[in-house]
């Protein structure tokens, strides 16, 4: 059994022990108008702005009370804003903070405890690597875009995947992100006290406007493309195949590069430089100058990104989609 100190709870405030900590202190949003809580409120607001601006929340060593309390307050504020964009962004950014702290975690006991608390049964092996069940691995790793995460490139034996510690921590990030996001979605909307209304309004205003769908020539989008756009406008993280589809489809339909890049600005892990690079690569402006066509329906289907409707009617590539059949006279 590990002894968790306040500092540990401050680093990993997703642990259930934190709930007890809060229950004891009886914190609620109503009390936050009191001057005592000003610094907490300030730090909570800072956490959220760090999330929006840098996609990563910082960690202040040495003030566990402030860190723990501001985590919950930020959580409540994000929830109160009701913004899907903020919920996604905030979950990701807190997860990245925890990822970094875990990466540098000195205590093996605390490390294992946190990993386990996230529902990841990872067994530490003598050589410093870890083993976990393939199904758990898949649920977390399938959304990571690099090929090295493919199961085929991993050591899978008798149902267990063996991975180095830094990879385990990368998966933990995904688990933390899911956890915070799910908690946000399930939490009932808190009543916002008068004094906080200002902050909540401010938060609502920083959510990006709904994605303006670029007009592609030739009418309706195929279901797979619509699905990707839908995910983006909800601020959800579109898997690699979906991004590739979207960019190549829109570009081939004559939508400009800038319009395509701006589409991705709502993505929780948006990074303008990388996005621009990827988009330009697919468009054939960079790399080998090869302009990519959208993946075939068969490939999309095999990646689980086909959302076929009757209107797809035997087409082989999303580019062939014509939408509602026009009566021929």
């Amino acid at each position: 059994m590990v002894e968790l100190g306040f500092e540990d709870l401050a680093k990993y405030p997703i642990l259930k022990e934190v709930e007890a900590y809060f229950r004891e202190r009886k914190i609620s949003l109503e009390e936050l108008s009191l001057d005592d809580y000003r610094p907490v409120l300030e730090r909570a607001r800072e956490r959220i702005f760090e999330a929006v601006e840098r996609a990563k929340v910082s960690y202040r060593r040495g003030c566990p009370d402030l860190e723990i309390m501001s985590f919950l307050v930020a959580f409540l504020l994000v929830r109160a804003s009701g913004s899907e964009f903020l919920m996604q962004k905030y979950s990701l950014s807190e997860a990245r903070r925890i990822e970094e702290l875990l990466q540098g975690e000195k205590s093996d006991g605390v490390f294992s405890y946190v990993v386990k608390a996230l529902g990841i049964d990872a067994v530490a092996l003598e050589d410093g690597t870890f083993e976990l069940d393939f199904d758990r691995y898949l649920r977390l790793a399938t959304r990571l875009h690099s090929e090295r995460w493919k199961l085929v490139n991993r050591e899978l034996s008798k149902g267990s995947v063996r991975i180095p510690r830094r990879d385990l921590v990368r998966l933990v990030r995904e688990a933390v992100r899911d956890l915070i996001y799910e908690r946000l979605r399930k939490a009932p909307a808190p009543k916002v006290p008068e004094l906080l209304k200002g902050i909540v309004e401010e938060l609502k205003s920083i959510s990006p406007k709904p994605v303006r769908r670029p007009k592609a020539k030739g009418g309706a989008y195929p279901p797979c493309v619509s699905h990707a756009l839908e995910m983006l406008s909800k601020g959800e993280n579109v898997p690699h195949i979906g991004r590739f589809l979207l960019v190549s489809y829109l570009y081939n339909k004559g939508v400009g590069i800038e319009d395509i890049i701006s589409l991705f600005s709502t993505s929780p892990d948006f990074n303008e430089r990388i996005t621009r690079y990827q988009v330009e690569h697919i468009a054939g402006i960079r790399g080998g100058g090869k302009k990519y066509l959208p993946p075939s329906c068969r490939i999309l289907q095999s990646k689980g990104f086909c959302f076929k409707t009757e209107e797809c009617d035997g087409i082989k590539n999303p580019l062939q989609f014509r939408g509602r059949k026009v009566e021929r006279g």
């Binding site: 898949l138 959304r143 090295r148 991993r154 095999s302």
Partner: protein
Amino acid sequence: MKEVDFLKAAFREYYFKMSDRVEVPEHIEEREFGYQNFEGVMIRHLSFRDGGDLRAFLLREVPAGVYCSPARYTDPTLPMEEKGWKEADLIFDIDADELECKCWNEYRYWICESCSAIHKGAKLDECPTCGSGRLRPVNFVCDECIKKGLGEVSKLLEILKEDFGVKEGDVKVYFSGNVGFHIHVKDERFKGLGPAERAEICDYLMGRGLMPEVLGFGRGMPLASRWRDRVLDSSSLAELKRMYRKMGYEGFRSWLERVALEAGARIDPSVTIDVHRIFRLPGTLHRKSGMAKVGVRGLEFDPFRDAMPFGSEPVRLFVERSPRLDFRGEAFGPFEREEVELPKGLAVYLVAKGVARPL
């Protein structure tokens, strides 16, 4: 007698006398059923309370094909979005007639529905004899095809067992009733997985996306995978080095995928990935062969012996064309435009294949 009536009578006899061979799935009330009638119409979104309910339906409708979802739903009769998907068994489909075989020359041809001319070779757009576009493919499978299919099955089982740790008792291998094999895996760890995770499993089984780093090539971080041993079983490290030098990273990578595909299992990934699919119900008959989808034990299989429920009472037929076929130790044919008397099992088979009509 018309072909359809003949087949329907045979199917009715089967469901009447041998309905105990139809496998009633666990949690039947949570499964979606579908069937195809002899007019070729597909009806989905059905459900049955229990085995008796299902058998009564089979007798009443005498379907040409019966399908059941590997998935469980809260309400299987509702439209797809409202069914309430709970979980799905993992399934695989291995098509024996996609594995190139020397029998293709004899066992595959096209029959023109207009002038009944027979054409061999690649698919034609129209009949060279009469110009009609109504060409119907005919394909038989030989022992070799079956053996190759089973070879793929055993590769699949090996990887499932060694890499995924699937227990033998959780896997069931079936002959699909026509030209392939179906593998059903009842293992809790797979049940909740969605399409993306299942796609990863398929890629794993086929070695798709294997990186040169697994074999120690390339600039990326070295990776460990059992696929290293699988590749090294067929190519030596020296050969790999030579290929890498010759082809460069990207070229080597696609070459490696081809090598891996040989070592992996040739499954049809779209079947495994689609968690809403309905899949032929074990113990029911296949419209294109008259045979049943039956379990395969010990990876040794003879379709006419193990999957053809009809016996040897003689039936008179006119056969358009059929290759030589071994039916339960006796050779029949080849036949070409002739009247013959054949054991019922073989007669049903040839009529179902669309190359004969009962007299």
